[in-house]
Amino acid sequence: MIDLKFDCVSKKYRIYQEPEGKASENKLRRVTRRLWGNRNDFWALRDVSFEVERGEALGIIGQNGAGKSTVLKLLYNITAPTKGRISINGRLAALIEVASGFHPDLTGRENIYLNGALLGMRRREIGKKLDSIVDFAGVSAFIDTPVKRYSSGMYLRLGFSIAAYLDPDILLLDEVLAVGDAEFQSKCIERIKQLRKAGTTIVFVSHNLGAVEGICDRVFLLRQGQIFRSGLPRNVISEYEHMLTNMPASTPARLISTAASSAAAVVSVAFLNSEGRKTTTFATGDEARVDVEYIAHESVDDAVIEIYFYSIFGNLHTHFSTDVDGKRLDLAPGRGLIEFLCPDLPFEAATFNVEASIRRRGSSLSEHLDYKHAAIVNITKGKAVHGAFHSPHTWRMKRMERDDDKTVVKNAD
């Protein structure tokens, strides 16, 4: 039984370029240009065809701009395809940016009704599930408080709970597992697994490769609007990782400020594991080496080289800097290689956007000589982390008192 079917689906976006603000230009011409001229067509998806069986969990991965969200938007009928046909068999619900439909002035209860209705539920149906939703979100004490007084965590938990209790035939998931604390996240995964067991068809779009591998039966790798690979999660994910690793660091993905100065630039950034092999997948606690190759066109006195770790949502997790930990660095004109060694990677299992920069010491963080996207690094479960990070440490027993015989066991030190 086929639940979802894409039949040669293409989606074109028009990118309008505002005419340059020349005051002398004829107003009428500007209006006509606005209406008819200056369009660039961008094909977000090109002739994509696939089918999803009932009860199957399909993962879609790929870099930003590969067309992942377009697939979701089309499936969810937020926008129509330019060509092709999409057939959907059953009720489809999406968990895309939960809580976007909340109204701050209304209470939690009123918002449950409003959001449920937005997701296509009937009032009667919502009333039946109200208790489960409130329980799951853990906001029962505040259910009659306006949501503007909620903490951001409560806000998101409530949003997720509403969608999680829709009981759709087909569920679309988009980075929702980043909601709330670790405990809530595991509850969410539990809920998704329950829905899976009950036969819900799932489409999961994520940068969290670990979660994709854990949930999905089959994975697509999208690249430039087309299905580049499809197959078992393990195979497609490792191919994707391979693809990311071999990408030159000069990918213009997040180039910020190179034009301002060309005194020095980052040429490439390579991640190596303890065996010295190139990879972008590490486990928590692994040893990691990062080789940053630079080129200096003139001598740069007192340079600082930095590596930034961003979450996929753009929050800075940490940055390693020669300014903080290294010696003074004077770059002579020419190429060079600087190695950063981390014996014990402290991150929780997650995906990080890593960026590298060169700047002069004392310059502000925005005055980089070069700043570019280096890689997407995937950290998998290694040393157990409950919380945000792992820190190298040791334990020693100092004293132990027994209640029953009052003998004191002392550590031999």
Binding site: A80, G101, R122
Partner: protein, 296 residues
Amino acid sequence: MISAKGSSSSTRTTLQHRSEPRRISVLSPPSLSGSNLINDLAKLRQYSDLLLTLSIHRIKVRYKQSVLGIFWAILQPLSMMLIFTFIFSLIAKMPSEGAPYAIFAYTALLPWNYFSSGVSNATNSLVSHAQFVTKVYFPREILPITYVVAALFDFVVASTLLAGLMIYYHVSLTVNVFYAVPIILVVSCFALAMSFFFSATQVRFRDIGVAVPLLLQVWLFATPVIYPLSAVPLRWRPFYVLNPMVGVIEGFRQVILRGAAPETRSLLISAVISVILLVASYLYFKRVEATMADFV
């Protein structure tokens, strides 16, 4: 099936409750065809709960953190009535066909305000709900409709003052007052037609947001609100009545103030134009809706 342990029991029941048959939906490139109309209306019916929830929400939120609350619904037409009465009855002598000018103006201001506040609020409805439009699927026409519903609610509230005025000026009701129902129905159709057209166009051309208030101001003077229809020169009438608001405003006044049946011809013109425009603008709206999220 999943195991029925602890908290998962609620899941189990909800999963078993699903008995309705699965519906196959096909999404394809937008096309302007009348055959989709039935489909669209069926979809709208499916979402009637959202329409209801959002309309109630709209009415609640509007007056929630204001001191005068629901009295604003009366205060708006009342203040316009006082201004018009001051200018056109005390300063300029405007004919009012024998009725006291205050009630003469107020009876017309009621349906006019319903129309104009409904349309002007609905025009921005899609743009101001961009976060819904780009994130969640639902029939988009619900958004403009809720504003028209909220305006209808204001109309009902403001009607209480009309009842007060009628008692004060000793205007008695006749059986003909029931004509007010089809008249308001026609106003609703026309307000919806304009709302669909303007809100859908506003998504691509923000000029509409600026143009509509101006248009409504001009429109007010092109409608017999502050003056009677009889003041319009006869040779202009054939064109004048093409404005659907003419038939309904004049009809409403006829029904309430004079207790007579409305003039059928002009009311019929209004009704026919309104319904045709409603169907056309709904089709246009649904066509634009398909890719609305890409522009909003």
